[in-house]
């Protein structure tokens, strides 16, 4: 250009080559993207607790230290993609863990697929998260199973014949799970008319009173209302205020302290399916995890922390088996995860990258989540 400078153009785009880190001393970076602010912050925090706990207990693999790079995705899909891009390109992480919330995970999915970075979800249960994405894995069950489990419980244990659905149109998780519940419920009752009403709302809504007025006089035995814990708690509260007294059931999102804080007495008796319970440890690792968790946080662990813990464990197991920090190799090792003993049970990742897990039914009693029953995994 006649300026007199020479501009050095690197032969290869530095950042796209994974070898860079070998220079990085003995550190392997793993990215975490979770909602730490915004509507799903409670879940993100709990998950993070589990991940960090695991990192403290098992800080090394292949003789190298593992460094967690944590990004807040602000419970926002856009931020989720941005966070993942940043993790991959600024921090050069080898693998990623996250995120609470299927929609957030799905938003990031395209990115990790494009840049081929293996990612392990802790609790996103929507089938689309891993579908057609060889780089996305998860350590929890999926919603078709969860929907069946909870429908089963409704019909067999609660004796429900008619149900009302209340779903959050903005959450893939909520609409998906409702769909699977409906299918299972109709099959179980053998009655195509068994769903008497499907009511939709959008994340962030606070006033369900009109909707409740609408369904108050419908003859139903149960309300299935999977959704974010905040909206669900408010919904239940207002339902009870209006004198609706039939059981209200939901999915794994409910297991957060916030659900009880907001719902107060109204959520007494609320029933939902989830991944894990401290009351019935399943494996050796469960005990190890529970102990460590009590020691560090001075309370009982919850499902999301446990899944966070497991996601980390599965990941370093894969790194160890791959005997390399090469993302491709980690991915391959992850895909071969078999009977790995996690805190939440034995984990085997199938061709879609999904774990096949058992489910737990819990109930709110005296302001606590109480274990009700255990449901064996169904092999697809």
């Amino acid at each position: 250009l006649g300026i007199g400078y020479k501009i050095k153009i690197p032969e290869k785009r530095l950042t796209d080559s994974w070898e860079i880190e070998e220079k990085n001393g003995g550190i392997i970076k793993i990215g975490v993207f979770e909602p730490l602010t915004g509507g799903a912050a409670s879940g993100g925090e709990m998950t993070l607790e589990g991940i960090q706990l695991a990192n403290e207990l098992f800080p090394e693999v292949l003789g190298k230290k593992i460094e967690l790079v944590i990004e807040d995705n602000k419970s926002d899909k856009l931020e989720a993609t941005k966070a993942v891009i940043k993790l991959i390109h600024e921090d050069h992480v080898k693998a990623i863990i996250g995120s609470y919330g299927s929609s957030l995970s799905m938003a990031a999915g395209e990115v990790v697929k494009k840049f081929k970075i293996p990612t392990v979800g802790c609790s996103p249960t929507h089938p689309m998260v891993t579908f057609n994405n060889p780089y996305y894995f998860r350590v929890c069950f999926v919603d078709p199973f969860q929907g069946t489990v909870i429908a089963n419980y409704a019909v067999k244990e609660l004796g429900a014949k008619k149900a009302i659905i209340v779903q959050d149109m903005a959450q893939d998780y909520s609409t998906g799970l409702s769909q699977y519940f409906i299918e299972a419920f109709i099959k179980l009752t053998g009655d195509v008319e068994s769903i008497v009403s499907v009511i939709s709302y959008v994340s962030g809504e606070q006033d369900f009173r009109e909707k409740l007025t609408e369904i108050r006089d419908l003859k139903a035995d149960v309300i299935f209302a999977p959704g974010n814990y905040i909206e669900s708690a408010v919904f239940i509260k207002q339902a009870r205020e209006m004198g609706i007294n039939i059981p209200i059931i939901g999915g794994d999102t409910w297991e957060t302290p916030t659900f009880i804080e907001i719902g107060g007495e109204a959520v007494e008796g609320a029933i939902f399916s989830t991944h894990f319970t401290a009351e019935v440890p399943i494996t050796e690792r469960s005990n190890l995890f529970l102990e460590a968790y009590r020691k560090k946080y001075n309370r009982e662990a919850n499902a999301f922390s446990a899944l966070g813990f497991d996601a980390y464990m599965v990941l370093i197991d894969a790194i160890a088996r791959a005997n390399s920090a090469n993302p491709e190799k980690i991915r391959d090792a992850l895909a071969n995860t078999k009977n790995f003993e996690g805190a939440t049970g034995k984990i085997t990742l199938d061709h879609n990258g999904n774990a096949t897990k058992s489910a737990i039914i819990k109930k709110v009693e005296k302001g606590q989540f109480k274990y009700v029953t255990f449901v064996e995994s169904i092999h697809p």
Binding site: P35, L36, E241, E261
Partner: protein, 298 residues
């Protein structure tokens, strides 16, 4: 729709409407005096609710009658602080700068709240007196539903008197048009504006606590949507006019509820209702329902 169901909707509508009205009055006051859409109003409302929450946590549920007024007083000073920091330095700047500052300070308060209070929602404590379920025939109504309209009405009467009949009220209206000329009348412009803000913030605080009692979850962004809707209520009624704000609040609250009740298919459009109403009213009567038509003197 049965009569009972209708009554249930009506009760909900009136209660929501008066809540909107209460917050709309605060908007209208500040707008009337500063000609400023105080975008931070919703955030002041949020702060008040959080302070009330921590107050009750600290003092215990029995002492809510201390905690709530304390929160209102705190908010009064907080509102004045916001004015001092974000608006006073821009006293002689174009209106757009002040408006931007309003948006900026609203951002700042929200983000600070996220860091200080945490992004995670909190449950607002409800003293039993507000939470009694009253059964009238087949209609069940929570007692807060009655408190809200009563409080709104009381504040309305007080404010209308204050603004129209007292010298300070007149000074407020004078300041709204011409700072310099107001100064020439020996009016302490800064003091009047600060006072207006304080009063507006008290209204926001009362509204916030009522809101918390009705929709008991606290998140740092909780002021956003109510803030916007109540501003709309104020505009629909005729901004600057307190009675207009009340009218607008009621129309909006009742309208939203009745829309959902009578046309359940349009439930998803509930949040759009406010805006559609706004635009329709503005196009028919550009100064709002109660706003007087003023031909600009050329």
């Amino acid at each position: 729709m049965t009569f009972q169901v209708f009554m249930q909707h009506l009760a909900n509508g009136i209660s929501l409407g008066s809540l909107y009205a209460l917050i709309a009055i605060g908007y209208t006051m500040v707008y009337g005096i500063l000609r400023l859409i105080n975008f931070a109003h919703g955030d002041i409302f949020m702060i008040a609710t959080y302070v009330a929450f921590y107050g009750v946590m600290l003092l215990g549920m029995q002492l809510w009658w201390i905690a709530f007024p304390a929160a209102i007083i705190f908010t009064y000073f907080f509102g004045r602080l916001v004015e001092r920091a974000a608006y006073r330095p821009l006293r002689n700047s174009p209106r757009i700068s002040v408006l931007i500052s309003a948006i900026g300070v609203s951002f700042l308060i929200e983000n600070l709240a996220i860091v200080i209070f945490g992004g995670r929602p909190k449950a607002f404590p409800i003293p039993p007196i507000f939470n009694k379920i009253i059964q009238i025939g087949d209609v069940s109504i929570v007692s807060i539903t009655f408190f809200i309209p009563a409080i709104t009405l009381a504040l309305l009467v007080g404010l209308v008197y204050f603004i129209n009949q007292t010298k300070t009220g007149m000074a407020m209206r004078a300041v709204s048009k011409d700072y310099e000329a107001a100064r020439l009348m020996a009016i302490d412009v800064d003091k009047i504006i600060s006072l207006t803000f304080g009063i507006g913030s008290i209204l926001a605080a009362v509204g916030g606590i009522m809101w918390g009692l009705k929709f008991p979850q606290l998140v740092p962004l909780m002021g956003l949507m109510p803030g916007l809707k109540c501003f709309i209520a104020a505009v629909v009624g005729g901004i600057g006019d307190i009675r207009g704000a009340v009218l607008g609040g009621f129309i909006l609250g009742l309208g939203e509820i009745m829309l959902v009740a009578f046309l359940p298919a349009l439930t998803g459009y509930r949040d759009a209702f406010a805006f559609v109403l706004l635009i329709v009213i503005l196009l028919i009567k550009p100064t709002g329902l109660m706003g007087q038509k003023l031909t600009e003197k050329v």
